[in-house]
Amino acid sequence: MTTLDIPVSAIGPDIDRPRGGALAALVRHSVALARRSLIKTVRTPEALIDVTLQPVIFLLLFTYLFGGAIAGGDRHAYLQFLLPGMLAQSLAMGGIALGQNLNADIQKGVFDRFRSLPVARSAPLVGAVAADVVRYLTVCVVMLAFGTVMGFRVETGFLPAVAAVALSIGFGLCFCWISVWVGMLVRTPGAVQGVMFLLVFPLSFGSNVFVATNTLPGWLQAFVHVNPITPLVGSIRGLLVGGPVAGHLVVTLAWMAGLLVVFVPLALRAYARRA
């Protein structure tokens, strides 16, 4: 063991001010923490099952099990209808793991270390959410690639398809703040999953993902119409296989903004209280 003799000033000329100002520091710290999450993802590829194997199995099951019955035997037509919707469902489910991971981090004391460092309170959460982009992108790529193998075809064009993927990832990033908030509130990672399933299952099945809304009873139609998944599915469907987009898109973007406005402050407050 040798002697350490670097002076304290090695931290910076002014140790009371973050380098480049508060906002630059938040971005820099969030990026560093996002990188941490990405390293963890790469080290534990099995944690990607919910955004790779699971959507593929769901797609296979629903297409071949129900496709014949629902779409009058035309499985290809049903796949064209189903895949954009299942993309939305997989994105909503894909955010659940984030809340579980953050909950586990808090339990292990990893966040104590971060909180004892001079970083913005929000940086660990913002960083973790930013790293989830990779998972949502994976969902999109896997479903479109596997769907293509099954016979799915984009009927619009390259740019609309890219827009659909971008919108999907954007929605995933907004929706996952619910999971982050729940992750700060409940005691165990398992409880995060339980609570989030209670939310995500009704939202993703009580929507226009699997069947046309006009086949549903009136009360369920009413729920489907106020469900944020519905306009998202409408937008993605329009962007991938054609149909009206603008109306759905406006509602979707409004929902995304609403999710951020409500759940980011809730998550940050719950995080600050969780000591």
Partner: protein
């Protein structure tokens, strides 16, 4: 007063029905080690969490490095290092990645963070494991990495919350060496521990906390003196002479006491202990032993162990409460 690097007054914190801190005062001089000693649940960890800006107290004030912990936590965070009770390294990250991340969060440039990480890994004998995920590390290696993580920013004040819990004796002594080195380089260390020998070996001053209250604050020797007198211990070379030695030493015993043969209470048999009033007893004991022709392999004065002090202090307090 200016050389106090940690100062806390009247810290109170309640969790539900538990009064974790019930008016704790702490003071640590710059460049020293303060040992915070207490049984499980005494409030040690809560006190450290308040000082390390992780927890707001219900009442009381605290300053670390001259800065108000409650008003300017970010400034405090730039000057402290914290190693928690449970090693909080990230298991999926390698040793290097763990330390570089901390460096980046402390606003080092990536280059400086990498240099600092390499330097610390080398210092903690972790260079060979630097590229491996921390989950492959042994318990001792994890502790070392955790401690290294708290030193990345050259902290003025280092908080170590039970840093050696669960380590084997050799690893504990390594840890002690690290703490001493930090202090020689100008850092101040506040260390909580349940191990009295650890506090004895490291701390310049010891605070004993029990049930959220400080029940003693003194130097290790001061604490020992406070509780009991000196003991003279003699080990005859020939164990058969123990009875003779007892007879000789009875003459120097403090009034009302007598020499006794060791063998119980954890000490190795074959020695004789006798309570004495002062070190003057040595002057009488040595010639008397020689006169009796008793050769000895060990002869020395001992303060009571911190264990005895600790039990005396905590029991007295509990008794007082029971009576009041």
């Amino acid at each position: 007063m200016t050389d106090l690097v940690v100062r806390a007054e009247g810290l109170r914190k309640r969790f539900g029905k538990t009064q974790a801190l019930d008016g704790v005062d702490l003071a640590m001089r710059r460049g020293t080690v303060l040992g915070v000693l207490g049984p499980n649940g005494a409030g040690k960890t809560t006190a450290v969490r308040v000082l390390a800006t992780l927890l707001r107290p219900d009442a009381g004030t605290a300053e670390v490095a001259g800065i108000d912990v409650l008003r300017q936590p970010q400034r405090v965070r730039r000057r402290i290092g914290l190693t928690g009770q449970y090693a909080s390294v990230d298991e999926d990250l390698t040793g290097t990645q763990n330390l570089v991340l901390i460096g980046q969060l402390l606003d080092l440039t990536t280059k400086d963070a990498k240099r600092r990480a390499a330097e610390l890994l080398d210092w903690f004998d972790l260079s060979e494991a630097a590229g491996r995920p921390a989950k492959t590390y042994s318990g001792g290696m994890r502790r070392r990495l955790d401690l290294a993580a708290s030193l990345v920013g050259h902290p003025e004040v280092i908080f170590l919350d039970e840093p050696t819990t669960g380590l084997d004796p050799a690893k504990r002594e390594d840890m002690w060496g690290v703490v001493r080195t930090q202090v020689t380089q100008g850092a101040s260390v506040l260390l909580t521990t349940q191990y009295l020998d650890e506090a004895d070996a490291l701390a310049d001053e010891i605070v004993v906390i029990n049930q959220g209250r400080v029940i003693a604050h003194d130097t290790p020797d001061g604490l020992k003196r406070r509780v009991g007198g000196l003991t003279l211990r003699v080990r005859p070379t020939d164990p058969a002479r123990v009875p003779d030695a007892m007879r000789v030493l009875d003459k120097v015993a403090a009034p009302g006491t007598a020499a006794s043969a060791d063998g119980s209470a954890g000490s190795r048999p074959g020695a004789v202990s006798v309570p004495v009033i002062g070190d003057i007893a040595l002057d009488d004991a040595v010639p008397a032993l020689r006169q009796a022709g008793i050769e000895v392999t060990e002869l020395g004065l001992h303060l009571p162990s911190l264990d005895e002090v600790f039990h005396a202090l905590t029991e007295t307090k509990t008794m007082e409460e029971a009576l009041s």
